[in-house]
C-alpha cells in the first residue's frame, strides 16, 4: 500500500502541498487531480523521492521510498522525458538498465510492448524522428517495462488519439489487475472517471475533494435531467430549484439543486403530450471538479 500521511512541502515561503493525506492499495487506480500549479507534480516528485517533504511521511509497503525500491516504480512525467538523440531501443535499454533490468529482459519486454502498440518498425529509429503520439507511447513503454509495483502517470494520454488511448487503458488495467498501485493525473475528467475508483482534488496544495468517485457523486446533491418533450425553456426555468436549463439540439439539460426537485419538473413536463425522454443523471466528474475548484478558487 502507498501511504501519504500529512505531507507538507514548502518552496521557500511558498506552500506547495498542504497537509496532504491519502492511501492507495494494490490493484487500485487513484486519481490525483488539480488545476495547473495545484501541487500534483510536487506530490509526484515527493512520492518518487526526488523531493523531501518538510513534514509528513510517504511509505510504500510501510517502507520509506528511497533508491532501494525505485527499481519497482514506474514514472511517466507530464513533459517528454526522453533523450531524443537516442534510438527507441537505446532509450529503453538505458531506462530499463536504470531499473536494474538485464539487457535480455529489456529487449524481450520491449518487443512485446512495441508489438502491442503497433510500432515494432520504430525500434531502431531515433526518438526525435517520431511523432508526438509515438514519443508518448515510448515514454509509456519505458514507464511500464519493469512491470512496476507503483506506477505514476502524469498526463499519460497527452498527444494520443482515441484509438491509442484505448491501448493505454488496456495496459493500465492489466497492470492494476496484476496488483500494481497506479496513481494517475489528467486534466481530462472523462479519463479519470473511467479509470479511478478514488481520487483527491488539489487546489493550492490542499485537498478540496477526496474519496471514492461513487460516494463523491452521490454526495453531490445537484443532478441533471435530460428531457425530450414539447416543453419550453421558460416553463422549466420557472420551476423552483431549477438552477439552469441548457437548450441542446433536440433536448434540454436541466440542472437542479437536489433530488427533491425531480417530481416538480416531471409534473410540468408530463402536462405535455409529446414526452420521449426524461432521464435523471448524476453530474459528471468534470462538473463536480469545476464547481468545487471554482468555488474554492474564488475564496
Amino acid at each position: 500500500m502507498l501511504k501519504i500521511e500529512n505531507v507538507t512541502k514548502y518552496y521557500g515561503d511558498f506552500l506547495a502541498v498542504d497537509n496532504l493525506s491519502f492511501e492507495v492499495k494494490e490493484g487500485e487506480i487513484f486519481g490525483l487531480l488539480g488545476i495547473n500549479g495545484a501541487g500534483k507534480t510536487t506530490t509526484f516528485r515527493m512520492i518518487m523521492g526526488l523531493l523531501e517533504p518538510n513534514s509528513g511521511m510517504i511509505t510504500l509497503a510501510d517502507k520509506k521510498i528511497d533508491y532501494s525500491v525505485t527499481d519497482k516504480i514506474g514514472f511517466l512525467t507530464e513533459e517528454r522525458s526522453l533523450l531524443t538523440k537516442m534510438t527507441v531501443k537505446e532509450q529503453c535499454l538505458f531506462y530499463g538498465a536504470l531499473k536494474g533490468m538485464s539487457d535480455k529482459e529489456i529487449l524481450k519486454r520491449l518487443d512485446e510492448l512495441l508489438e502491442k502498440f503497433g510500432i515494432t518498425n520504430y525500434k531502431d529509429k531515433k526518438i526525435k524522428e517520431l511523432s508526438k503520439g509515438n514519443q508518448q507511447k515510448i515514454q509509456f513503454i519505458t514507464a511500464i517495462m519493469n512491470k512496476p509495483k507503483l506506477l505514476i502517470l502524469d498526463e499519460p494520454f497527452s498527444g494520443l488519439d482515441p484509438f491509442n488511448i484505448e491501448l493505454f487503458e488496456n495496459e493500465i488495467n492489466i497492470l492494476a489487475k496484476e496488483g500494481s498501485i497506479i496513481i494517475f493525473s489528467s486534466h481530462r475528467m472523462e479519463h479519470v472517471e473511467l479509470f479511478c475508483k478514488k481520487l483527491v482534488v488539489l487546489l493550492k496544495g490542499k485537498a478540496v475533494l477526496e474519496g471514492e468517485i461513487k460516494t463523491i457523486k452521490q454526495k453531490y446533491r445537484k443532478k441533471n435531467i435530460f428531457i425530450k418533450a414539447d416543453v419550453t425553456k421558460d416553463e422549466l426555468l420557472q420551476i423552483k430549484g431549477v438552477l439552469n436549463v441548457i437548450e441542446k439540439a433536440d433536448e434540454f439539460e436541466v440542472k437542479i439543486e437536489s433530488n427533491d426537485i425531480i417530481d416538480d419538473v416531471f409534473k410540468v413536463v408530463s402536462k405535455h403530450s409529446d414526452v420521449t425522454k426524461f432521464v435523471v443523471e448524476e453530474p459528471s466528474l468534470n462538473e463536480i471538479f469545476v464547481a468545487k475548484v471554482g468555488e474554492q478558487y474564488e475564496k
Binding site: 526526488l50 514514472f75 512525467t77 533523450l83 531506462y95 538498465a97 536504470l98
Partner: protein
C-alpha cells in the same frame, strides 16, 4: 544486479566515443599529427623537395669576390643552423653575359643570379636577380654574405687578410663560472629552451580541458532540457549521477590524450621507417638538439619524478575542471546558459596557459610562485616553473596537495548544489538557491 554507476559511466562514454564525430575528429587529428611529423615526406610526395639546393649563378666582374662570397655564405649558414652540415646552396660561376643569365633565370624560375662589380670608390657592389620573390631567409643570408665580402675586400685593400678578418669578427671566448655548485651552465640556457618546448607540451592539456568541460556541460544539459533527468534521478541518486559524469569525462580525456600520444608515436615510427629527411631548415636537428640539451641538463636526471608529478597534477586538475563543469551545468537550464557560465573557466585556463608560456619572464618572482599553487592553473604553471628552476619539487607537491583540497571542497559543497540544481528548471533566484543548498545540512 548491474552496478548503476558503472552502467552510467559506460553510457556516457558510449554517447561520446561511439559516434561518427569522434571517429572523424580522431582521423583528422591522426592525419594532422602524422602529417606534421612527416611534413617533408608529404611535401616531397606532392612534388616539393626540401633537399633540393638553391642554385646561385655568379657573374664576378671583380674576379676576387666569388670565393669570398661562397665562404661567407657557408659561415652564415652554419651560424644559422647551429651545426656544420651540407650547404643548401649550389653556387656556380656564370661565364656568359647578364642578358643570358636573365634569360636562364626566367626559363628555370627558382634560380638567383648575383652580379659583382665595383663602384666608383672601388668598393663591392652587387646586383641580385631573380624571376620572382626570394625566400626571406635566403635573401638575408645572401645580403649578409655580400656585406661581409665587401668588408673583407675593403680590409684586404688595407692589407688585412680574410683569415685576420675572421679572427677579428669571431666570437669572444667566454668562460662561464657559477659559484653555486647546484647550478650548471647548461641549465642556464633552459629558459630559452623551455619557452619553446612548453607551449607544445601543454597545448594538448589545454585542448583536452576544453573537451572535458564541454562534454560534461553538454551531457548534463541534454538530460535536463529533455527532462530525461527526472527519470534518471528517480532511479539513481544525484551523487551517483554526478560521479558517473565526472569519471566518464576524465576517462574520455585521458583516452583522447593517449590517442594523441599514439598518433605522435605512429608519426615518429613512420618517419623512422621511411628514413625521412630533416624537417624544414633542419628543424629535425633542432628537436634532437633540444632533447639532448634537456637530457644533459640537471632536468634530465629529474625527469623521473617531474613526469609523474606533472601527470598527477594534470589528472587532479582534470578532476577539478570536471567537477566544476558538472556543478555549473546543473545550475543551468539551457546549453546557452552553460556556455555563458563556462566562459570564466576557459579564461582561467587561458591565463594559466599564457602564464606558463611567459614563466621565464617572471624570474622567480613571488607572484608567479603564488600563482603556481592556484588550482586549475597549477597543472601547467607549476611544472613549467619547475623545469625553469624557479620553484622546487616541494612546491609542485604543495600544488598537488592544494588541488586535492580544492577537489574535496568541490565535492563536498558542489554535490549539495548539484542535488538542488539538477531538477531545477528556473533560472530565477538561482544563486540564492545555490547558497541555501551549500548551507543546508539536509543534503549531506
Amino acid at each position: 544486479m548491474r552496478n548503476k554507476l558503472n552502467y552510467l559511466i559506460g553510457v556516457s562514454l558510449k554517447r561520446k566515443m561511439k559516434t561518427k564525430w569522434f571517429l572523424i575528429a580522431n582521423i583528422i587529428l591522426a592525419i594532422l599529427i602524422v602529417g606534421v611529423i612527416n611534413i617533408d615526406s608529404v611535401i616531397n610526395f606532392f612534388g616539393g623537395d626540401f633537399n633540393e639546393k638553391q642554385k646561385i649563378y655568379i657573374i664576378d666582374n671583380t674576379n676576387e669576390t666569388y670565393n669570398l662570397f661562397e665562404n661567407q655564405l657557408l659561415t652564415y649558414e652554419i651560424s644559422l643552423n647551429g651545426s656544420e652540415s651540407e650547404s643548401s646552396y649550389e653556387i656556380t660561376a656564370y661565364e656568359d653575359g647578364v642578358d643570358e643569365v636573365k634569360e636562364l633565370i626566367s626559363e628555370e624560375g627558382n634560380e638567383i643570379a648575383l652580379i659583382f662589380d665595383t663602384d666608383e670608390d672601388n668598393l663591392l657592389k652587387a646586383t641580385v636577380i631573380s624571376d620572382g620573390y626570394i625566400d626571406t631567409i635566403d635573401y638575408q643570408l645572401i645580403v649578409s654574405a655580400i656585406n661581409s665580402a665587401k668588408t673583407v675586400l675593403a680590409l684586404n685593400n688595407l692589407q688585412i687578410t680574410e683569415e685576420e678578418y675572421n679572427q677579428i669578427y669571431s666570437s669572444a671566448n667566454i668562460e662561464r663560472v657559477i659559484l653555486d655548485e647546484t647550478k650548471t651552465g647548461e641549465d642556464e640556457d633552459m629558459n630559452t629552451i623551455m619557452s619553446t618546448v612548453f607551449p607544445v607540451v601543454i597545448l594538448p592539456f589545454f585542448m583536452l580541458t576544453i573537451f572535458l568541460v564541454q562534454m560534461i556541460g553538454a551531457e548534463v544539459n541534454d538530460e535536463k532540457t529533455t527532462k530525461g533527468m527526472e527519470i534518471i534521478i528517480s532511479n539513481v541518486s544525484p551523487k551517483t549521477h554526478f560521479s558517473a559524469k565526472v569519471i566518464a569525462g576524465n576517462i574520455f580525456v585521458l583516452s583522447q590524450g593517449a590517442l594523441l600520444l599514439i598518433f605522435s608515436i605512429v608519426g615518429l615510427l613512420i618517419r623512422r621507417l621511411s628514413g625521412g629527411s630533416n624537417i624544414i631548415n633542419g628543424v629535425g636537428d633542432e628537436v634532437s638538439s633540444v632533447i639532448s640539451d634537456i637530457m644533459n641538463s640537471s632536468i634530465g636526471s629529474q625527469l623521473i619524478y617531474i613526469i609523474p608529478l606533472t601527470l598527477l597534477l594534470m589528472i587532479l586538475t582534470f578532476v577539478s575542471y570536471s567537477l566544476l563543469a558538472g556543478i555549473l551545468a546543473s545550475m543551468t537550464t539551457t546549453i546557452e546558459d552553460f556556455q555563458q557560465l563556462q566562459t570564466p573557466i576557459m579564461i582561467i585556463s587561458l591565463i594559466g596557459y599564457y602564464l606558463s608560456m611567459m614563466a621565464g619572464l617572471f624570474k622567480g618572482a613571488i607572484i608567479i610562485r603564488v600563482l603556481s599553487y592556484i588550482p586549475l592553473i597549477s597543472a601547467i604553471l607549476s611544472p613549467s616553473l619547475l623545469v625553469l628552476g624557479q620553484i622546487g619539487v616541494i612546491d609542485v607537491i604543495l600544488s598537488i596537495m592544494i588541488t586535492i583540497g580544492f577537489n574535496y571542497l568541490l565535492i563536498k559543497y558542489g554535490l549539495k548544489i548539484y542535488k538542488v540544481g539538477i531538477l531545477n528548471y528556473s533560472s530565477s533566484g538561482l544563486w540564492k538557491k545555490m547558497f541555501k543548498a551549500i548551507k543546508s545540512k539536509e543534503n549531506q
